[in-house]
Symmetry: C2
Subunit: 429 residues, 2 copies
């Protein structure tokens, strides 16, 4: 009986994180240009002060199968409207992504959509591409018109310097209040040849919410069809970027793109095992970038991982995890190193998911084991000094077992510090 | 054409706040004992330090028709479970409400329910009431067992001092981190006699969320039936207490009670005009208490009123208002006196309500008029100095017109300051 419980426990502990065989070693300076056939460059268009990079251009030597995941906000920024339209029309014909920081081109009316179109056209012309092959990404302040002429000039300057080493500069160009550029890549061998997956991202959500944007661009030299790439990207985004979208305030500009140009000659869809390797590689890149976003949160001093297990569905598990991760009470307790587990249960209860309080178990990771904080929905009388010590760590992992099923999800968030408030209290003016 | 627009504008401006003929003058020291036939007292049971009042008892000389609105959190504290059960069984037989602060009796398992029952029994015995006539309210830390013996002793001490002047002490006893006791009452004449409505409350939600509780007790000497009282209380709560429940984290203990003992001999249900007066009086008391809760928020320096007009339904209007009011971005901007209107639209867009961005108009109250910040979903190029001046006021009123219907709602919130984080970062330990 006890033995069974332990076995179950172990199974869950190992199953909770994505089912990766073994994480791949990240490539040095990996980015969107690590996969074959991609070049990039960045330039200064005058949007940021002091000559800092603020526009970037990514170009593929051949057409890419492309998938996109966009904000669910009812107010969608012009670049989101433009990209969603282009992707629905030509998901197999994408050649480039043009990006800018500082101005989100959101809440800018019909002129904003015209500006997004002009930005795409400029990228296509400057890189010698056919019309309707460039996507656009913008991040920055909402409600301010995009200055088209400087952005066009910046994209032309970038197009003149496209290079297979330019991906890291592109990551720098899309930074806003990010303190670190976010980029990575992994490579795996398939038996039919090597496949590389790379990506860049910038912060968003609860973390850089003022800038209203999580932007991520993933590239791969795998051969793929848009029809299979899109569901893969949705699955990956749900487990990575959507698992850190923690404030309920889905932004106006959130965009994740995945471009597959086929330059490796390897088509993962032909072999189930290779497809699994491929999806895991994409997920590893996405998760690395997503965690980098959380860790680089404004004012953040700690990382909180919330594992929800024993749920009736993965959706229910994720909803409960998100409710905990967006609770200002939980986040201030994490900041204060306060093992106030009642806040975690109260936040879980407010998720809108039916819960059986008498089946709830809450644990905190303590070294390689777990300290049980609450069981059957009531206190487990944990040792106060041990609980306190756990909450003083820089990374805190909580596991809430809902006790009603076998589905699981993981979400990540950072703490809420007085610095966060200070940083966000005065932005536009 | 312009004239029509102005007229429509005016109609909306006057209709936005609840349709009160004229606010009633608040009674001096008004509270739950202002209506005839109610007595109350408070005592020190040892839960708070230094002899501070921490338990309270409200008793009616006759049975009350009683309605309750309880938390929608899937995890309901023991007092909520107890009260909901008792009210479903005997909504016309309530005589008393026993209250305590400091310990919420939430996440306390079967022992917690037993403690709630013991608390109710103690109140009934001490006040000489029949069994199953007392409701219970608890507020404080989650997950800590309620110390029954001291609470019982405190309720006995309170029962020995019941007085028609005891309502304000009861308001003091339920305070936790509240800095001010919250109580009020109004009286109106019906032609058939005067009716009085009173109430007390303590803070909750985004404001005192650690204490996990908004508690409010409303009393009246009107004659009423439970069947008509319940829908009235739901309507009133939606427009008042639920309009300040702004963090998505519905607590485990939230409770609003309305007790009508009939001591005035006036039955408002017999006359539509009197019923309207009655509902307005209840709403005025509830709104006064709800605004007092927001204004007394931990670390709060400002009050934000969000009017959402032109919505397809009142529910849609309220959802949009709540999404704006719970946005940490909006709340930090209010703290920083930053007229960053893009955040308001982005938060509205994340409410889960379909919006037509090109129909959105956002205005800020400027004296008796309005300054338009955004129109057709894009900037209205407002004068920057005027916008800045508005956001530097202590009370800020925003009006968002969705442009798709005639329904409206108002929500209130406070700003998010570094002090809020500091106060909440270390509570249990």
């Amino acid at each position: 009986m006890i033995r069974n419980a332990v076995r179950l426990h172990k199974r869950r502990a190992s199953a909770i994180l994505p089912p990766m065989s073994e994480p791949l070693a990240p490539l040095p300076d990996g980015s969107i240009t690590s996969p074959r056939g991609f070049t990039a460059a960045a330039a200064h268009a005058g949007l940021k002060p002091e000559g800092a990079l603020d526009v970037a251009l990514l170009v593929s030597t051949t057409s890419c199968a492309t998938a996109g995941v966009f904000t669910r906000n009812a107010i969608r920024a012009a670049p989101v409207v433009y990209d969603a339209d282009l992707l629905s029309e030509r998901p197999g014909r994408i050649r480039a992504v043009a990006m800018n920081a500082r101005i989100a081109n959101a809440c800018t009316g019909p002129a904003g959509l015209e500006a997004a179109r002009a930005m795409a056209h400029a990228a296509e012309q400057a890189a010698g591409l056919p019309p309707r092959t460039a996507l656009v990404l913008s991040t920055g302040v909402i409600g301010v018109p995009l200055p088209v002429d400087p952005v066009v000039a910046g994209l032309r300057a970038a197009a003149a310097q496209l290079s297979p080493a330019g991906g890291v500069d592109a990551a720098r160009a899309i930074m806003t209040t990010d303190t670190r550029a976010k980029h990575c890549a992994v490579r795996f061998d398939t038996g039919h040849g090597a496949v590389t997956v790379g990506g860049i991202a910038k912060g968003a959500g609860m973390i850089h919410p003022d800038l209203a944007t999580l932007l991520a661009v993933l590239t791969t030299d795998a051969v793929a069809e848009p029809a299979t790439l899109a569901p893969l990207l949705h699955r990956v985004a749900d487990r990575t970027f959507n698992a850190i979208s923690i404030d309920g305030d889905t932004s106006t500009n959130d965009t994740v793109l995945l471009l597959a140009n086929g330059a490796s000659g390897v088509d993962p869809a032909r072999d189930g095992a290779v497809w699994k390797q491929f999806e895991e590689a994409v997920q590893q890149v996405a998760r690395t970038l997503a965690l980098a976003v959380v860790e680089d949160g404004e004012g953040a001093t700690k990382l909180l991982e919330v594992q929800v297990v024993g749920a009736a569905s993965e959706k229910a598990a994720r909803e409960v995890g998100r409710a905990i991760a967006r609770s200002t009470l939980v986040k201030t307790a994490i900041y204060g190193a306060d093992p106030n587990w009642g806040r975690v249960l109260a936040a879980a209860g407010a998720a809108g998911v039916p819960l059986a309080v008498e089946r709830l178990t809450l644990q905190a990771a303590e070294g390689a084991g777990w300290l049980t904080l609450a069981t059957a929905g009531a206190t487990a009388n944990p040792d106060a000094a041990r609980a306190r010590a756990i909450f003083q760590e820089k990374t805190i992992r909580l596991r809430l077992d809902l006790g009603v099923g076998r589905a699981e999800a993981v979400v990540w968030t950072c703490d809420l510090s007085p610095d966060y408030v200070r940083i966000n209290a005065d932005y536009t003016s």
